[in-house]
C-alpha cells in the first residue's frame, strides 16, 4: 500500500500538521522525509516552527525506515515539539520499544485545533 501525505501549515508557521495515510516502508519513507523537509522550509518563511503534528490515525504500518524520519526531525530541529496523534497499536509499540517515546508526545488532538 502506498503512502499519502497531506500537509497543513498554520498561518504563523508555528504548527505543521502532516496527515499520514497508508504505509511507511524503506521506499515511502523517502516521500515522508521530503514532505517534512518541505514543511520546514515553508515554516521558515512564515515564522518559527514550534510544533510538528503527525496524525497517524490512518497509518497502518511503519517500518524502521519510518522511525528514522522521526529521528531526522528531532535532530534537525532539537527544540521542536513532535506530537503524534492516534498511532495504531503496533506503531505505538515500536515507538516505545525503540526508545523514541522520549522524543515525541502522544496526544489525542491537534494542539492547533
Amino acid at each position: 500500500m502506498a503512502l499519502s501525505i497531506t500537509t497543513k501549515m498554520s498561518q504563523d508557521g508555528k504548527v505543521a500538521t502532516l496527515d499520514l495515510v497508508g504505509e511507511i516502508d524503506s521506499l515511502t519513507a523517502r516521500e515522508f522525509k521530503k514532505e517534512l523537509e518541505a514543511a520546514f522550509v515553508e515554516s521558515e518563511k512564515l515564522g518559527t516552527l514550534k510544533y510538528l503534528v503527525l496524525n497517524l490515525e490512518g497509518l497502518e504500518f511503519m517500518s524502521s525506515a519510518g522511525l528514522r524520519v522521526f529521528i531526522f526531525a528531532n535532530q534537525t530541529k532539537p527544540d521542536l515539539n513532535i506530537h503524534v496523534i492516534k498511532p495504531q497499536e503496533a506503531i505505538l509499540d515500536a515507538l516505545e520499544k525503540t526508545g523514541l517515546m522520549h522524543s515525541v508526545k502522544i496526544v489525542s488532538e491537534n494542539p492547533e485545533s
Partner: protein
C-alpha cells in the same frame, strides 16, 4: 558535481536491475540511493547465485547468478537497485565439489544465509512454530545500521571497579512476577534497569544474544511431556545478528534498534554491557547436521577437520570453528569490531576460549594469532576481553591463557576453592589466601584484574542450590541425570533439598552471605549470577540449558521471600564500591611502602599476625591497609576480614589499629537478619578492641576509624 557514476545499473535479469558490486564491506549494505550491495566469499566454490525472497515468501522471486566479472579473488559482489530492502530476504547458492575426504561439502540445492548478515528472519518470535518444510529457514535480512546514540559511547569503567551480573535476557523477565510489558525481551530488561541500579552492579554480562535456534535439538520431556529447547543459546547461527525473538519488536524487524536502545539506556545508568560470545562452534553440528551457512559456503575454511574430513569436536557439540584460519580470524575480528562500534558493547566473554588458541589441526598454539589480534585491535582497545579458559577437549588454561596484557579469565580455581572453603574442607587455607589476593599464583604478571572471580555462574548450581544440594538433580533434562557436572563442591547443610528445618535454613542463608562477602572482599573482578542476590533456586538442577520454564525464569517474588539475602547483597556490593582498598589494579607487595605502620596486606589467624595454613586449619583473617589503597594513591579505611569455616565459634585476636583508631563492625554473617550487616558509615564500635568471637561458619568485616 556530486553525481556518482558507479551507482547506476548496468545489467538486468528477470526485471531486476543490478551491476557489479563493491567488495567491501562483506555482507549486505544499503547504499545512499537505496541500492543494496551484496558481498560474500568462498575459497573453493565454483559458482555463486544470489537468491532473493519477499519477506516470508515460500519461494524466491528471483535467483541471479554472479558472472565471472562479478568475482574479485574469492569474493562475489553485486549491487541491486529498486527493491524495498525491508521486505527482502536473501541467501546464496554455492556450487562446488562434494568431497568430504578433502573437506568440501558444497551442495547447490541448499540456500545459505550470509555469515555477515546483520539480521536473520525465521525465528522472529520465541517458539513460534516454524514451517518445517521451509526451503530456507534462517534467512538473511538487511537492516538500517544508523542509530541516534545521543552522544553515548563505551563507558570505559576501569576494570578493577567492575561488578559483573551474569544474566539471561529471556530468563530475567519472563516470569509473570517480573511485571513488565513485554516479558523476556531487551525492552523488558530496559524496564528493570532501576532494579540493577538499586542492587549496585555496574556491568551486565548477557548470555548469548546472537541469533540461535531455540528449536535446535528440541524434544519432549518423557516425564512431563513439556518441550525441551535450546534455552541458553550456546549454539550460534549467525555472529552478527542479534536474536530477533529477544526483541519485542522482532516481529517488526526492529531488533537492532531495540537492543541499541537497551545499551544506550544501560550506559545512561552507568552500567556496562559484556556479551557472552560463542566462537568455538556453530549450530551446524557434525556431518549429520543441517546446512545453514558456513558448511555450504566453505566447509574446509570454517571448520577444523580431521585428515579424513570429519569434524573435530573440541566444543562437545559436534564441530569446532576453525578460529585460527586467517579468514575465520578476520570474520571474528570484523564481528567484534561491529558489536563494539555499532552496538557500543563494552566487552566480550569468550565461551570455551581455549579453542581460540588451537591451530587448524587442533593443537594448542603458544602464540595464537586470533587471541593476539583481538588483544591489539585498535577498535577493541577499550573493550574488556574475558576468556573461559578451557574447552571440552581437555585444554585447561586458567592462569596460562595467552593474555598479551589484555585478557582476563573466568577463574575456575577461585570458584572451586571458595566452594571447598564454604563446605569446610581441610587443606584449603593456603590456596584461599591466593584467591583472596586476586590469585597472584596464577596471574603473577597480569595483576588481580585478570581474575574474574565467581562462585556461581549459569553453568552449575545457583548459590541457594549450592548450599541446599550435595548432588545434581537433572532428571528434568531427560538425560537420566547423566548431563551436568558432578564435581559441584556443594554442601546441603544437612538435608538434601528444600526443608522446613529452621536451623538448616538459617545456616543456608548464612552460607550465602558468607559467599557474597568473600566474593566482594576478594581482589579481582566479582561476578554474581542473576538471582543469587535473592536466593534463586533451580531445584538442584545444575544444567538447565533446555528449560523454558520456571527452572530458568527468575521469580521476582523471591525479592520479598528472601528480603534478607537481597538486603545483604545490596549492602555488601555497596561496601565494595565504597572501599577502593578492595579494588586494586596491582598485586600486593606484602610490605609497607607508604610508611603507614602496616604492610599493604597481612594475614592473621586466631592469633593476630599468625595465619594458620596447616592441613586442619579452617580459619583465615586478613587486614588491608587503607593507606595502601590502589597502590597507595588513595587513602581508605583499614579493613579486617575474619573467616571462620570451622563449625564452632572461635576467638580471634585482633591486630591493633593505627593512629588511635578503633575497630567497628560492618558485617557479621552469624547474626540474624537486621543485625548481620549495616550501611557504610553506620558501623557499630566493637566493645572489645582486642578480640572477637567469630561464629562457626561465618565471616566478619571490621573497619578502622
Amino acid at each position: 558535481m556530486d553525481i556518482r557514476i558507479d551507482l547506476s545499473p548496468t545489467h538486468e535479469y528477470k526485471g531486476i536491475k543490478y551491476r557489479r558490486g563493491q567488495v567491501l564491506p562483506f555482507g549486505s549494505s544499503v547504499i545512499d540511493n537505496g541500492a543494496i550491495n551484496f558481498s560474500v566469499y568462498s575459497s573453493s566454490a565454483t559458482s555463486c547465485t544470489l537468491v532473493l525472497f519477499k519477506k516470508k515468501a515460500p519461494e524466491p522471486f528471483v535467483e541471479i547468478p554472479f558472472t565471472q566479472e562479478f568475482r574479485i579473488g574469492d569474493v562475489y559482489c553485486m549491487t541491486i537497485f529498486g527493491l524495498n530492502f525491508e521486505d527482502l530476504e536473501y541467501g546464496y547458492r554455492m556450487d562446488g565439489p562434494f568431497l568430504p575426504e578433502q573437506g568440501h561439502r558444497f551442495d547447490k540445492t541448499k540456500i545459505l544465509s550470509d555469515p555477515y548478515s546483520r539480521a536473520l528472519g525465521g525465528r522472529d518470535s520465541w517458539m513460534d512454530d516454524p514451517n518445517w518444510c521451509n526451503i530456507y529457514p534462517h534467512r538473511s535480512r538487511i537492516i538500517h545500521q544508523d542509530f541516534d546514540w545521543e552522544g553515548d559511547n563505551l563507558l570505559e569503567i576501569p576494570i578493577e571497579d567492575l561488578i559483573i551480573y551474569e544474566a539471561h535476557v529471556r530468563a530475567f523477565t519472563k516470569h509473570d512476577s517480573s511485571e513488565v510489558h513485554s516479558p523476556g525481551t531487551f525492552s523488558a530488561l530496559r524496564e528493570k534497569i532501576p532494579y540493577l541500579k538499586e542492587l549496585g552492579i555496574n556491568c551486565i554480562e548477557l548470555m548469548p544474544i546472537y541469533e540461535f535456534d531455540e528449536w535446535e535439538h528440541s524434544r519432549e520431556n518423557p516425564e512431563t511431556g513439556e518441550t525441551l529447547v535450546n534455552f541458553w543459546g550456546y549454539s550460534t547461527i549467525n555472529f552478527f545478528a542479534p536474536k530477533a525473538a529477544y526483541a519485542a519488536t522482532g516481529k517488526y524487524g526492529m531488533q537492532v534498534d531495540e537492543l541499541k536502545t537497551l545499551v544506550k539506556e544501560l550506559h545512561r545508568n552507568g552500567i556496562e554491557v559484556i556479551l557472552d560470545v560463542v566462537f568455538n562452534h556453530t549450530a551446524e553440528g557434525n556431518e549429520h547436521g543441517p546446512y545453514i551457512s558456513f558448511r555450504g559456503l566453505d566447509n574446509k575454511v570454517y571448520y577444523m577437520l580431521t585428515p579424513e574430513g570429519y569434524y573435530y569436536n573440541f566444543s562437545g557439540t559436534g564441530n569446532t570453528l576453525n578460529c585460527n584460519h586467517p579468514r575465520v580470524r578476520n570474520m571474528v575480528l570484523d564481528c567484534l569490531r561491529y558489536w563494539a562500534s555499532e552496538f557500543h558493547i563494552d566487552g566480550f566473554r569468550f565461551d570455551l576460549a581455549a579453542i581460540l588458541g588451537r591451530d587448524q589441526s587442533g593443537a594448542p598454539l603458544l602464540n595464537p594469532p586470533l587471541v593476539e589480534s583481538l588483544a591489539y585491535d585498535p577498535i577493541l582497545s577499550s573493550c574488556k576481553l574475558v576468556a573461559e579458559a578451557w574447552d571440552a577437549g581437555g585444554l585447561y588454561q586458567v592462569g596460562s591463557f595467552p593474555a598479551y596484557g589484555r585478557w582476563g579469565e573466568w577463574n575456575g580455581k577461585y570458584r572451586d576453592a571458595i566452594r571447598k572453603l564454604l563446605k569446610s574442607e581441610s587443606g584449603i587455607i593456603s590456596e584461599l589466601s591466593q584467591r583472596l589476593m586476586g590469585s597472584p599464583d596464577l596471574y603473577p604478571y597480569r595483576g588481580p584484574t585478570a581474575s574474574i572471580n565467581f562462585i556461581t555462574c549459569h553453568d552449575g548450581f545457583t548459590l541457594m542450590d549450592m548450599v541446599s544440594y550435595n548432588r545434581k538433580h537433572n532428571e528434568a533434562n531427560g538425560e537420566n541425570n547423566n548431563d551436568g557436572a558432578n564435581d559441584n563442591n556443594s554442601w546441603n547443610c544437612g538435608i538434601e533439598g528444600e526443608t522446613s528445618d529452621k536451623a538448616i535454613n538459617f545456616l543456608r542463608r548464612q552460607q550465602i552471605k558468607n559467599a557474597l562477602t568473600i566474593l566482594m572482599v576478594s581482589q579481582g573482578i566479582p561476578m554474581i549470577l542473576m538471582g543469587d542476590e535473592m536466593g534463586r533456586t533451580k531445584n538442584g538442577n545444575n544444567n538447565t540449558y533446555c528449560h523454558d520454564n520456571e527452572l530458568n525464569w527468575l521469580n521476582w517474588k523471591l525479592l520479598e521471600q528472601n528480603a534478607d539475602i537481597f538486603n545483604y547483597a545490596q549492602k555488601i556490593i555497596h561496601f565494595r564500591k565504597a572501599h577502593p582498598v578492595l579494588r586494586n589494579k596491582e598485586h600486593f607487595q606484602h610490605r609497607d611502602y607508604k610508611d603507614a605502620g602496616l604492610p599493604d596486606i597481612s594475614f592473621h589467624g586466631t592469633r593476630a599476625w599468625y595465619a594458620d595454613y596447616s592441613q586442619n586449619s579452617r580459619v583465615l583473617a586478613f587486614m588491608l591497609s587503607g593507606e595502601h589503597a590502589k597502590g597507595g594513591t588513595i587513602t581508605d579505611q583499614t579493613i579486617y576480614v575474619g573467616i571462620n569455616m570451622y563449625w564452632d565459634g572461635l576467638e580471634f585476636e585482633l591486630p591493633q589499629t593505627q593512629h588511635n583508631k578503633k575497630w567497628y563492625v560492618f558485617a557479621n554473617t552469624s547474626m540474624p537478619d537486621g543485625h548481620d550487616i549495616t550501611e557504610v558509615g553506620e558501623e557499630q564500635i566493637l566493645v572489645d578492641q582486642q578480640k572477637i568471637i567469630i561464629g562457626g561458619r561465618s565471616v566478619i568485616i571490621l573497619v578502622s576509624k
